[in-house]
């Protein structure tokens, strides 16, 4: 069920490399990507055997590098990053629900702070009347424009995440909670951040933690910041343009010559309605 021409392509790519040092699979990935400057992962990296096995069964190839625990699988599609092998243990209803939830989380993680900036600084009339008064009151205490406020809080949160991943797990959790609570309360009481922003930023943080794939999490964080900047300058139009460019990029991307946004665009009904287990063995490749 795996296609030899894709394998040849992969082998040719790896053969074409001339390397002095290769320290990890991530480095290899960036060397053999079709689109080297794209923020989206084009290979799926995993340490889990069950993930690797399920990739193999679905007709993908694995790149195993001696001496590293991480295995790369390809070709991948965008939606592969929203699946985990344990999803198969669930009923189809829960499985679809969880996957939709993850897609929603990705959308929120990228666009929620930008939407907040756009609405607060350009489109206040979209806010319901009864909510407008408390929102304006919470904003009135903040001396900075929304963009500064949002960038400040988002950068602090990114720092916190980075710090928490460095520390030992029990310490990391404690410090994370303490820093979050203290910063939130102090920021609110001194009027550096508004209460509504705390809700937005925390929802974004939670949403970005839902994503199962850490590579995709990194790209959402980059996209989030660019969306915030465009939203601050052009309002909701900037948001739409960012979304359109991201979408255009996802459609243009290919992983080993396979469309990245596969079952949706180009649309394949059969692939969207996969049977439980989803290993019917049909090849995923054709160019359109």
């Amino acid at each position: 069920m795996a296609q030899p021409q894709i394998l040849n392509r992969l082998i040719n790519k790896i053969k074409g490399l001339t390397l002095n040092v290769l320290s990890g699979t991530g480095q290899l990935e960036s060397l053999i990507k079709d689109f080297p400057s794209s923020p989206f992962p084009q290979f799926q990296a995993t340490e889990r055997p069950d993930q690797a096995i399920s990739s193999l069964i679905r007709g993908k190839f694995l790149i195993i590098l001696d001496g590293t625990p991480v295995v790369l699988s390809a070709p991948v599609s965008f939606f592969d990053f929203f699946q985990k092998p344990d999803d198969l243990n669930f009923n189809w209803l829960f499985k679809s629900f969880i996957r939709l939830l993850r897609l929603l989380a990705m959308g929120l993680a990228v666009f929620l702070p930008a939407l907040y900036v756009a609405i607060i600084s350009y489109h206040f009339y979209i806010i319901p009347v009864n909510f407008l008064i408390p929102l304006a009151e919470s904003r009135a205490r903040v001396p900075f424009p929304p963009i500064i406020e949002v960038l400040f809080l988002e950068i602090v949160i990114e720092l916190l995440r980075e710090a928490a991943s460095r520390l030992a797990s029990h310490l990391g959790a404690t410090i994370g909670v303490m820093a979050g609570v203290l910063l939130g309360v102090a920021g609110l009481s001194t009027g550096v951040i508004s209460g509504s922003l705390v809700i937005v930023s925390m929802s974004t943080l939670i949403a970005s933690l839902v994503l199962p794939c850490s590579d995709l999490g990194l790209s959402t964080r980059i996209l989030k910041f660019s969306a915030i900047i465009f939203a601050a300058v052009f309002g909701v139009l900037g948001l739409v343009v960012t979304a359109a460019v991201t979408f255009a990029h996802l459609i243009t991307l290919e992983s080993l010559g396979q469309p990245y946004f596969q079952p949706l665009i180009p649309f394949k009904l059969g692939k969207n309605l996969q049977k439980r287990g989803g290993n019917d063995g049909k090849p995923t490749s054709d160019h359109c």
């Binding site: 806010i127 009347v129 407008l132 008064i133 424009p145 900047i229 300058v233």
Partner: protein, 369 residues
């Protein structure tokens, strides 16, 4: 790669430094929820706007701004000279016109709300019996009511939902104004001692106010217009009751209706043929053999007669004042274009004959068995 990053940072910072041309920050904006318009003694527009005061000295207060001018925008600029906020009408909920102004025509004044894409054409058009300025100022002193701007908004929205008053947005007004043979109606409110009261609706002829009807009549008129909503109606007792009890009359709830309007031209005069079918539940009435089918039938017939009487009164009233909210003229135009071309509709409408059929179906008689 470095070049790309450099370019990205340069464009990003340039945009941020120079950008934000259209920015309207929430906290720096005064968002009027109501706009009152009336004629000043110098025969200019006297405009009162009311917006929630953000971080004012006292909680739940509104800021009232008053200015005079010939144009809406002109007066907005004048109002801005007295306040710390930038006035933006993006969240306008109601436009309150004084009756005096409404009688002289209001369509031109509202035009900017339809044109400017930032202003909401979803705001409601309301006529105030009296002065909107006085109403807004007085509303600040009500102690038992919520913040005035929210109070007026909520009052109107709730009464629109129960068909006591029509829900006429700026666009609805414009649609009805521009359509030949169709006239606008709007809510009518009045300031009373310690509250604001919904009086019913104001009937327009073109864009000039021509008459008014009360809340129950509004509900019936809306039913005839085919815009029925779930409403309540009250009627006189069916036959002169002998009891000296205070409790008199009948109350219907969950009233819904379907209407069918046809027109014919008979003897060079339009003949309106209207059929209304109501369904309702009876909630309050003397406990009197209500479970007997003959009694029920009698109640239905009697009530239908009363509704018919009320409806006929409304139609005759609209004919008298020359307002056509039901859109009979529109029907005539669609069906008899030649006749429509020939006559002046306002005149022809006065002479129209009406044939009204009312059917009332009471689905529930309370919980009486």
């Amino acid at each position: 790669m470095k070049k790309k990053m450099f370019l990205l940072i340069i464009t990003g910072s340039l945009l941020l430094l120079s950008g934000c041309w259209d920015q309207i920050l929430v906290e720096q904006t005064g968002f009027p929820l109501q706009l009152g318009l009336e004629l000043s003694p110098e025969h200019k527009l006297l405009i009162t706007s009311i917006h929630p005061a953000i971080n004012g000295k006292e909680k739940n207060q509104d800021e009232i701004l008053i200015s005079e001018g010939n144009l809406l925008r002109e007066s907005r600029t004048r109002r801005e000279t007295t306040t710390a906020k930038i006035i933006n009408g993006g969240k306008l909920q109601q436009l309150l016109f004084s009756k005096e102004l409404a009688v002289s025509g209001i369509q031109e004044i509202m035009e900017i709300l339809e044109r400017d894409s930032l202003n909401p054409p979803v705001s409601y058009v309301v006529v105030v019996d009296g002065s909107p300025k006085e109403l807004m100022e007085k509303a600040q002193t009500f102690t038992s009511k919520p913040q005035p701007s929210l109070y007026i908004n909520q009052l109107l929205v709730n009464n629109m939902n129960s068909a006591h008053t029509p829900d006429t947005k700026v666009y609805d007004f414009f649609i009805r104004y521009f359509a030949p043979g169709l006239d606008p109606i709007t809510p009518l409110i009045k300031l009373e001692a310690d509250e604001i009261r919904i009086l019913g609706s104001a009937l327009f002829s073109g864009d000039k106010m021509a008459g008014e009807i009360d809340t129950q009549q509004t509900a019936l008129l809306l039913a005839m217009m085919g815009q029925s909503k779930n409403t309540e109606l009250f009627f006189d007792p069916i036959e002169p009751e002998e009891t000296e009890s205070v409790k008199k009359g009948i109350s219907l709830t969950n009233v819904r209706s379907r209407s069918r309007v046809r027109v014919k031209i008979e003897n060079n005069r339009p003949a309106i043929d209207m059929a209304l079918a109501f369904t309702a539940s009876l909630v309050e009435y003397r406990r009197d053999a209500l479970d007997q089918p003959p009694v029920q039938k009698k109640i239905e017939e009697q009530l239908a007669r009363q509704i018919k009487q009320a409806c006929l009164e409304i139609i005759h009233y609209t004919q008298e004042i020359g307002s056509d909210p039901i859109g009979i003229g529109d029907l005539v135009r669609a069906k008899y274009p030649a006749y429509w071309q020939r006559v002046n509709w306002r005149e022809a409408y006065r002479e129209a004959t009406v044939n009204l059929q009312i059917k009332l179906d009471i689905l529930q008689y309370g919980a009486i068995t």
